[in-house]
């Protein structure tokens, strides 16, 4: 009769242990409760649950009951111990009869003075994942065969909980490793892109830093348009590499200190298509980079090159790079032309908005300038790129405000407007 009661009580604990392991408690809490359930199921005075570290060959305590503060929290296993425990599987080992193993010799005193009776290696899928240390029972009787079976059953549950936790930790570790690798690759990619931009700019002594600036302006426009930082980064890369095709254009054409002739112009105008061919085979994290190179000289009104695309045929990224490219062309000195005063640049952008440039992008760019000049943003992006004196020209803030008021778009989408006079040359 008592045997039946013990069985019912132990099965109740086993059922509760199953629930504990599948619920959403923290791992530490699950293990602590598991040790309570095991102790309470059989009336065990003291004990511990440990997790095995196969790297350090140590059993590290996860939960301890009644073993005192001086019980070792980390116990080392030899290779011989590991072999024997694996061969033993998930079965209780009577500590008093196992002193032939190094593990029990080394920790003999610790085990004896706490009256530990059973050691249970938690072996799951042929791996030691932990161990149970079980002390004397409150009855003072030795563990019966059926009680050892109960210990095995509960130990299996605890072993599975530890294995799950180990797997989760491994997944988290690998995810972190992947994140770091990804960050490193991204950093390498950006460094490479910047090196390319510098190489492109080296070829043109008059437009030093042009690609880098176009990258930065493109990013500013994208940010002002509310793009996510990843997408804005893509716009920057597209800007950095937009002129990569110029690497194949003769240096004397690029550096000509005069307006180039038609033949030279035709040669120069091949650079978008060549850039596309160069960039296409590269697996970019931002898919539109080759398209930006190919179409950054297209215009909304269809008068651009190489394909004469109109408005919505033009990839959006190319519209951004086109504006950034023109803005840089207007705001930097060229061999045949000094840079335009800031107020004239605003007028030109306004005038060509809808024919050459997407109006909402022009608004975004001008708004970015205005926010910097009025102190709405602390970043000195434009001042750093174009110089303080240039950016703080008299009346520029009013000019920007008036222009932005006039430009208030009726629709956020770009549209094709009538061809405006005074188109802006882009080099």
């Amino acid at each position: 009769m008592e045997h039946d009661h013990k069985l019912i009580h132990a099965f109740g604990a086993l059922a509760e242990l199953g629930q504990q392991i599948t619920n959403k408690n923290s791992f530490q809490e699950t293990i602590r409760t598991s040790l309570h359930l095991l102790s309470g199921a059989l009336g065990i005075m003291r004990g511990a649950v440990s997790r095995y570290s196969r790297y350090a060959h140590e059993l590290n305590m996860l939960a301890v009951r009644g073993l005192g503060d001086d019980f070792p929290l980390s116990l080392v296993l030899t290779e011989e111990d590991e072999r024997q425990f694996l061969a033993n599987g998930l079965n209780p080992i009577a500590i008093a009869q196992a002193k032939v193993l190094p593990f029990f010799q080394v920790y003999d005193v610790s085990f004896e003075c706490r009256r530990l009776e059973l050691f249970v290696p938690l072996v799951v899928r042929d791996e030691i994942v932990g161990a149970l240390f079980l002390g004397e029972k409150a009855t003072g009787e030795p563990y019966s065969h059926y009680e050892k079976e109960i210990v095995c059953a509960m130990g299996r549950h605890i072993g599975v909980a530890i294995t799950q936790r180990n797997l989760m930790a491994e997944i988290e570790r690998r995810a972190e490793e992947n994140r770091q690798l990804f960050d490193e690759m991204r950093s390498t990619y950006h460094d490479t892109v910047k090196a390319f931009a510098a190489a492109i700019d080296c070829k043109d002594k008059y437009t030093e830093g042009h690609s880098v600036r176009v990258g930065k302006f493109s990013k500013i426009i994208a940010c002002e348009m509310g793009w996510a930082s990843e997408e804005a980064e893509g716009a920057a890369v597209a800007g950095y590499l937009h002129d990569v095709g110029k690497l194949t254009v003769e240096r004397k054409i690029i550096n000509a200190p005069y307006r180039i002739n038609a033949k030279e112009s035709a040669e120069l105008n091949k650079h978008p298509a060549v850039g596309y061919e160069i960039l296409l085979p590269i697996h970019h994290p931002f898919a539109d980079v080759p398209l930006a190179a190919k179409y950054h000289h297209e215009r909304l009104d269809g008068r651009g090159y190489p394909d004469g695309l109109v408005d919505r045929e033009i990839p959006y990224i190319a519209k951004i790079v086109n504006l950034a490219d023109s803005f840089d062309a207007m705001t930097t000195d060229r061999p045949y032309k000094a840079r335009r005063p800031a107020k004239d640049v605003v007028d030109d952008l306004h005038r060509n908005s809808g024919s050459q440039f997407a109006p909402e992008l022009v608004s975004a760019l001008l708004n970015g300038v205005l926010k910097e000049l009025t102190g709405e943003v602390r970043d000195r992006r434009f001042r750093r790129l174009l110089g303080r004196d240039y950016m703080e020209a008299d009346g520029i803030v009013d000019k920007l405000r008036n222009t932005l008021n006039e430009m208030a778009p009726t629709t956020p989408m770009t549209y094709v407007a009538a061809v405006a006079p005074g188109d802006i040359p882009i080099h």
């Binding site: 009580h9 009336g43 009644g66 409150a138």
Partner: protein, 104 residues
Amino acid sequence: MEIGIAASIDPSGERSVIFAGDYLNKLSGESIEHECRRSLAVGCKEIIVNFSRTEIVNSIGISILLGLIDTAANNGATVVFSDMNENTIELFDMLGLTKHVTIA
């Protein structure tokens, strides 16, 4: 959640009485454990756990009581279990708790 634990230390400071709730599980067991430690810290030499309201004790409750017995012994105090119903006595007997406490 109402767990029905009550504790009092007599004026001499020698004896503490802890009333266990109707269901002795993890939550109520931890409260009893807390009260026991508090009593031992002020020098109580006798911890009386009164089970007059207790209907059920689960495995975690048993484990916590075993811990309480161990802690009391380490502090030179004795533990008394009082007013247990038949089922509780039977359970404690079966698991050997009654060997370590005085029954009242």
